[in-house]
């Protein structure tokens, strides 16, 4: 790999005042035609391009991005990575991703800071307990490391949680996946971009797709702000804007795009060194390496492309945070923001061919797509290269909404994260 990153390259470049670092990726103009085009330069799209080039040797390909790479949900999420999903299909998909995460920094020669600090899911009522135990048993038999913790064990693993049984919705226990954790979101996009670029992939930023052209049943290219680009294989990974792109090709998807908010506190010295999620009272919190508490809020109930949600959602989230962590009451919210998440009726994604030949969609990740980034890219690349899904994403086809074979990950709390 040219321009390899290491402590030695850092020292070497320090001697020349860091004047000789190469570009992490080129900034090419689009060619007239590619063997495949990925629409959407987020983590999933860039990973797809990387694996298309790396594993399927398709190097005459491009990623087109409306704005700047990693600027959508990749750069807006709370970076939680875990694979302790209930259904076999989901567990297979997310654990495939988790296994790639475990070697991703080395694979990409880019430190994505995957930190296996564990993810704990809390139970607050008896049905929560049943559901989480069910999931833990399923995880164990699927080879996924997840254990049940009673309330005392929860407290021991994360001492700042208020485990008093006198609070409104006391902690009745929880599950812990130790291999789970967080990663640095920007680094994932940049690492894949750099990797893909070095394999010859054109990454074209500020290139908005205005239309998807079909010749009968076959897709033939995209109309963009930088002109028409031909290709007989187009993979769309556009998250919140998936439906907008589907409409361009004359398709409808089973999606609704809704605002999802998150916030960070001011940075403080280490106070919580794991990720704690609570569906029932809706509070997710971890602490970034910089020291900020990273807190995920919920979605609004209505469709919106504004990247802004309602204040009451933030208020409800912090209310739950203070219920579980009353010591955070004097902490201050530094920044809040929103993203647009595309949600499927069964809270599971779509990685699928469509009724248009050569047109593929990877969407519907809802509020939890970041964790799947490497696996999603790998499986979508497989699907595009072979025009057939991999066995790990076969269940996530678009036809399940017709046949009724949904992969319902809502659980009793009706929230899937």
């Amino acid at each position: 790999m040219k321009n390899k990153y290491s402590i030695f390259s850092l020292i070497k470049n320090a001697l020349s005042g860091h004047e000789n670092w190469q570009r992490a990726w080129r900034d090419p103009e689009p060619k007239n035609e590619y063997d495949a085009i990925i629409v959407g330069g987020g983590g999933h799209g860039l990973a797809t391009a990387y694996y298309l080039a790396k594993k399927h040797k398709m190097t005459n390909i491009a990623v087109v991005e409306k704005g700047w790479i990693g600027g959508g949900n990749t750069g807006r999420n709370t970076t939680i990575i875990r694979s302790n999903y209930l259904w076999d299909a989901s567990a297979g998909l997310y654990d495939h991703a988790l296994k790639i995460w475990e070697g991703l920094s080395q694979e990409l020669n880019y430190n994505v800071m995957f930190s296996q600090r564990g993810v704990m899911n809390l139970a607050h009522n008896l049905q929560d307990v049943r559901d989480l135990k069910r999931r833990t048993h399923a995880n164990r038999l699927n080879g996924i490391d997840a254990v049940w913790l009673n309330t005392d064990e929860v407290k021991k693993f994360c001492p700042i949680i208020n485990t008093s049984q006198d609070i409104r919705y006391p902690v009745l226990g929880g599950t812990l996946q130790k291999r789970a954790g967080t990663a640095r979101h920007d680094a994932v996009a940049w690492g894949y971009a750099r990797g893909a670029d070095q394999l010859g992939v054109d990454i074209i930023q500020n290139c908005e797709v205005k239309g998807i052209k079909r010749d009968g049943d076959q897709v033939i290219g995209i109309e963009t702000s930088k002109g028409f680009i031909k290709s007989k294989k187009i993979g769309v990974v556009a998250a919140g804007h998936s439906s907008v792109l589907a409409n361009m090709a004359g398709l409808k998807l089973p999606l609704e795009s809704k605002p999802l908010q998150a916030l960070v506190s001011e940075p403080v010295k280490p106070i919580i060194d794991t990720v704690v999620m609570s569906n029932a009272v809706h509070a997710y919190v971890s602490q970034s390496d910089k020291g900020e508490l990273v807190i995920g809020a919920g979605t609004d109930s209505y469709v919106s492309y504004t990247q802004k949600g309602s204040h009451n959602i933030v208020e409800e989230t912090l209310r739950a945070i203070l219920e579980l962590y009353p010591i955070f009451s004097r902490m201050k919210m530094l920044r809040q923001w929103g993203g647009i998440v595309d949600i499927c009726p069964d809270a599971s994604p779509i990685i699928s061919k469509t009724q248009v030949k050569g047109l593929y969609f990877n969407c519907g990740w809802g509020t939890g797509g970041f964790k799947a980034t490497p696996g999603s890219g790998d499986l979508f690349a497989h699907t595009i290269a072979n025009d057939e899904p991999h066995k790990l994403n076969a269940a996530f086809n678009i036809n399940r909404f017709v046949s009724g074979d949904l992969v319902d990950e809502h659980g009793a709390a009706a929230v899937a994260h």
Binding site: G17, W21, W68, S105, R319
Partner: protein, 1003 residues
């Protein structure tokens, strides 16, 4: 206390009230009216903290909320300590204790300072390029990174303070109480608008209130005198509410704004007791006037971060407002006229000004001439190329700028200075404007982004310097004009003001000032808190990070607690300059709320602790409490879970309760079940459409169990519905599903079937339900309602009677969720506790036993009755539950019917409800445990899971319900339930374990 840095100034500082405080353990003094920053400066303390990455010594740079460096930990009490408080904002009080952050062992000698020596190895994004070897070591590196990062410390005990919310509606909201805000508020309120004026400081008047300079006059008096009079006037306008110490945090759509009012942080601790600490104002304003002003820009040059280097405007405020000299030998470094105002203020207060270094070639504006008259040395066309002094600036080195400004020429001049004021022009605070959805335009004259009037959301304007007016004359005249137009005002008292000012005539800007050293050897800081330099920005560009958002994220510029208020414009400028792009085309990063950090406590308000969520209690709740019930949360309800007696465990209590209910009589509070009153001529037809089974033929006075599906065919809710009359039913729903069922039914009724004459009313809270079950239930009911004929002929199973208890109307249903002969009494809630007690009395001789939800679950499991949400999970069809009998096959349609016939919902290998018995009858399965056929597979194929599991005292063995693939065909077959430490052998059975013939219903 050193008073040589204080000047007499009694206007804003009360020098008669001396306050003691501690900084890093050292006892110091200040005055009432000081901020911590001004008090520290008066004590000749500049060094306050260490920077985030390199741990360089940093001092007070500003006098406001944009402060990047002087942030401290306030207080030691683990429940009251506040991290990351800006010394420039916190008002001094008696006993204040502040500590430097991010340094060890102390701010003067900090071990972390070694990072400064390593800084060549720590350029922007270095961590993306290293810490990858060995592969498993990242988390070990990360441990050290995490501990050296972070700023202050989180409290470690719960916060005892109270926070509050206030909703406020007004005609006009004016944000900012500087001169333009005062003009706006006065005009608005005088013209019949209910007006709210907010300012984050403790006094109104902005920077004008201490502007006493010959160059700036209104109607022949100093601007500060004029404004003071105006402020005194507006305090008496009845339509005007003024809130100080209240900072606008967020401007959301539809003129919804959040403001935080500080109520106690400035008080002495003994005055704070029982007072609300902060109040969050939730404001809906018909119109909003933004007058948030602007903040001064620093200049970017080599070593521009040393303690003692401050914004020139801050130096001016410290001397004019707080009466504090920030140094004894002050130099000023500027590219515009503002620093000259500072020079005059300092000179008037007797501070020695070493020199003014101005990058402009020359300026002959009025104020510059004034300064020249004061014999202050001005170095035109010069720049600072370096500064010296580790913990406090001691010298500056200056050189002449080349004609194109890209380099320096001539001889280096070294000047002694213990304080350097820097002024790089002004940045309008457009945060609120853009938060509200407004778009910015770029003005290249002075490199500012301004509200684009053509892209301003309606019902708001920006005025004053946040709208790009920096000259007092423009501010007053334009504010008056804009507000008049905005509010439709004809005449204003500000129409004929005579304003004098010093017209700034020359502007010059160099984003990154040159040095005599190559850039690689310099440290020109952009973001003072996050330690990102101009070099970092250039490195990011070199590596292909082009978008401003990429540069920001790669270099962390603008991501500190000041959110880039000082650094963002320079980052943009350097990107534009380096890449040859127009700054206006680059655009800004997104201004995200809140404007300044907002306490979690204030956002949440009083909705903590017991107010976290509503608690719904039944009318018998207190009886359950008195009888030692344990409760479980079901939705918002508190339900009695079991009633332990004499130290019983839960298992023992439930066994006792379950036996008693089957052997004699049990009593359950079933009030939490949802109850919907359904009336109208089409009520039967409505039920036909919402339930899977048929309802038209249900006789009046009869009850029927119904199953409700989602439109996708999955079981959604269930319950018994009773026909009260020809056109009237009462439906029961699950406890947790009640609200959703009602809203779903309303949805269909109003939107799909508006032609149906049906009315739905929730009566869940109006009626309480007492369920009496067991072979002696009849005897109990007979005692409570002696005149009701309880014979099977008159009152058979699945029927209902209207009756009265002590003259109070009630409904009695003979229905059963336990398989026992049982009744449910529904009575108006306020009588129900009495009736419950009557039942208890009546049952004394029969060992009547109150039982909770756990026993209820056990008893129904013995009978194989499902609980939706426990035995179903949103993926079960009626057929999956072996309840094909409840699907009205002849019915034309019902909610979810079509979905039952899709290719994957008619498969016979779906998961289906079965009974499970353990081979060892004592072994109780864990709910949620998985069921497999083969143990030695990897991964092992899971066939289903246990949904309900209990030890049945009535069968003396454990029983369970489960869902299993192709379960209908598996009766009698053996499987395993693999646990962590053992495998449990189980056999599939029928789902009904007890009284399969239903004999007990009529026993």
């Amino acid at each position: 206390m050193s008073q040589e840095l204080r000047i007499n100034n009694n206007k804003f500082i009360d020098q008669t009230i001396r306050l003691s405080f501690k900084f890093n353990g050292e006892k110091l003094y200040g005055y009432k009216g000081d901020t911590l920053a001004s008090a520290l400066l008066a004590n000749n303390i500049h060094l306050v903290g260490r920077s985030f990455k390199y741990h360089r010594p940093r001092g007070i740079m500003t006098c406001g909320s944009e402060e990047p460096n002087a942030i401290v930990q306030i207080g030691k009490d683990p429940s009251l300590t506040d991290p990351n408080v800006r010394a420039t904002e916190i008002e001094l009080y008696e006993g204040l204790e502040a500590f430097s952050q991010n340094c060890w062992p102390n701010v003067k000698f900090d071990i972390g300072g070694i990072n400064n020596l390593l800084s060549p190895l720590l350029p922007a994004g270095f961590y993306y390029k290293t810490f990858m070897w060995p592969a498993s070591f990242w988390e070990k590196y990360e441990f050290f990174i995490r501990h050296s990062a972070g700023l202050g410390k989180s409290p470690s005990k719960p916060d005892p303070d109270i926070y509050d919310h206030k909703y406020y509606h007004c005609d006009v909201l004016v944000v900012g109480g500087g001169i333009s805000g005062i003009i706006a508020a006065k005009l608005s309120a005088e013209n019949n608008n209910e007006t709210l004026l907010l300012d984050d400081k403790n006094t109104l008047g902005g920077t004008t209130i201490y502007q006493k300079n010959d160059c700036f006059q209104i109607n022949g008096t100093y601007t500060n005198y004029w404004l003071e009079k105006e402020i005194n006037n507006i305090k008496n306008i009845k339509n005007l509410t003024i809130k100080t110490r209240t900072s606008l945090a967020a401007y959301h759509g539809y003129n919804y704004l959040l403001a935080k009012e500080n109520l106690t942080d400035h008080l002495n601790p003994d005055e704070r007791k029982d007072k609300i600490r902060q109040r969050l104002w939730k404001i809906r304003a018909k119109k909003v006037i933004i007058a948030t002003g602007s903040i001064e820009r620093p200049l970017i040059f080599n070593n521009n971060d040393r303690p003692g280097i401050m914004l020139s405007s801050a130096i001016k405020k410290f001397i004019d407002f707080y009466g504090v000299k920030t140094g004894k030998e002050i130099s000023l470094f500027t590219n515009n006229d503002s620093a000259y105002e500072t020079a005059i203020s300092l000179k008037k207060s007797g501070v020695n000004i070493v020199s003014i270094i101005d990058i402009r070639d020359i300026s002959s504006s009025k104020i510059v001439k004034e300064v020249e008259k004061l014999n202050i040395k001005i170095y035109w066309k010069h720049t600072v190329v370096n500064t010296e002094g580790y913990r406090r600036i001691s010298f500056i080195e200056i050189m002449q700028l080349s004609d194109d400004g890209s380099g320096v020429i001539g001889k280096k001049i070294k000047l002694k200075s213990d304080c350097l004021g820097i002024s790089g022009g002004w940045t309008p605070m457009v945060h609120l404007f853009t938060q509200s959805g407004g778009k910015l335009k770029f003005r290249s004259d002075d490199n500012v982004f301004l509200p684009d009037k053509s892209k301003t959301p309606s019902d708001q304007i920006s005025i004053g310097s946040c709208n790009g007016d920096f000259d007092i004359k423009d501010i007053i005249l334009n504010s008056n004009k804009e507000v008049k137009t905005f509010l439709g005002i004809k005449n204003s008292s500000f129409d004929n003001l005579k304003v004098e000012s010093s017209n700034e005539e020359k502007k010059k800007n160099i984003w990154l000032l040159p040095s005599d050293k190559p850039i690689g050897k310099t440290k020109p800081f952009l973001d003072f808190q996050n330690d990102s330099t101009a070099k970092d920005v250039k490195l990011a560009l070199r590596e292909g990070f082009k978008s401003i958002e990429h540069v920001k994220r790669y270099t962390t510029t603008g991501m500190g607690t000041d959110q880039g208020k000082l650094s963002n414009m320079h980052a943009l400028g350097i990107i534009a300059e380096t890449t040859g792009t127009n700054m206006g085309e680059l655009g800004t990063t997104t201004f995200r709320p809140p404007y300044t950090p907002l306490t979690f406590g204030a956002i949440v308000g009083r909705n903590v602790g017991e107010f976290f969520d509503h608690t719904r209690k039944t009318a018998m709740h207190n009886w359950h409490v008195q009888n030692k019930a344990k409760f479980e949360n079901v939705g918002q309800w508190k339900r009695a879970w079991y009633y332990p007696k004499n130290g019983e465990s839960m298992f023992e209590a439930v066994q006792r309760e379950s036996k008693a209910a089957r052997e004699s009589v049990g009593i359950l509070d079933a009030s939490t079940l949802g109850k919907i009153d359904i009336q109208g001529t089409d009520a039967s037809e409505f039920l036909n459409r919402v339930y899977t089974n048929a309802w038209s033929k249900l006789a009046i006075g009869k009850c029927r169990y119904g199953l409700m599906l989602n439109e996708d065919g999955m079981v959604y809710d269930d319950g018994v519905t009773t026909r009260l009359g020809e056109n009237r039913y009462i439906m029961t729903t699950t406890t947790g599903g009640a609200a959703n069922v009602l809203s779903k039914l309303e949805d269909y009724l109003q939107t799909e079937w508006p032609e149906l004459d049906v009315y739905l009313t929730t009566v869940t809270d109006h009626f309480s339900t007492i369920s009496i079950c067991g072979p002696n239930s009849k005897k109990i009911l007979n005692k409570v309602i002696p005149y009701l004929d309880l014979s099977n002929e008159n009152f058979p199973h699945m029927s209902f009677k209207n009756s009265k208890i002590n003259g109070i109307k009630c409904r009695v249903m003979r229905i059963s969720f336990t398989g026992e002969h049982s009744y449910e009494i529904n009575i108006q809630s306020n009588y129900s506790k009495n009736v419950w007690e009557m039942c208890m009395n009546a049952g004394k001789d029969y060992n009547i036993t109150p039982y909770g939800t756990e026993t209820m679950h056990l008893l129904r499991a013995e009978k194989g009755f499902i609980i939706t949400g426990q035995d179903t999970d949103g993926t079960m069809t009626p057929s999956d539950l072996q309840m094909d009998w409840i699907i009205g096959k002849k019915k034309f349609d019902f909610i979810g019917k079509r979905s039952l016939y899709r290719s994957d919902t008619i498969r016979d290998d779906r998961k289906q409800l079965v009974g499970l018995l353990t081979d060892d009858p004592k072994e109780i399965l864990e709910e949620g445990a998985q069921i497999v056929e083969k143990l030695n597979q990897k991964p092992v194929e899971m066939l289903g899971h246990v949904t309900s599991s209990y030890f049945s005292p009535n069968l003396n063995k454990s029983i369970a319900l489960a869902v299993m693939k192709s379960g209908k065909k598996l009766k009698g077959k053996k499987f395993f339930v693999p646990m962590e430490n053992k495998n449990i052998n189980v056999t599939v059975t029928d789902t009904v374990f007890f009284d399969k013939e239903n004999k007990r219903l009529n026993a």
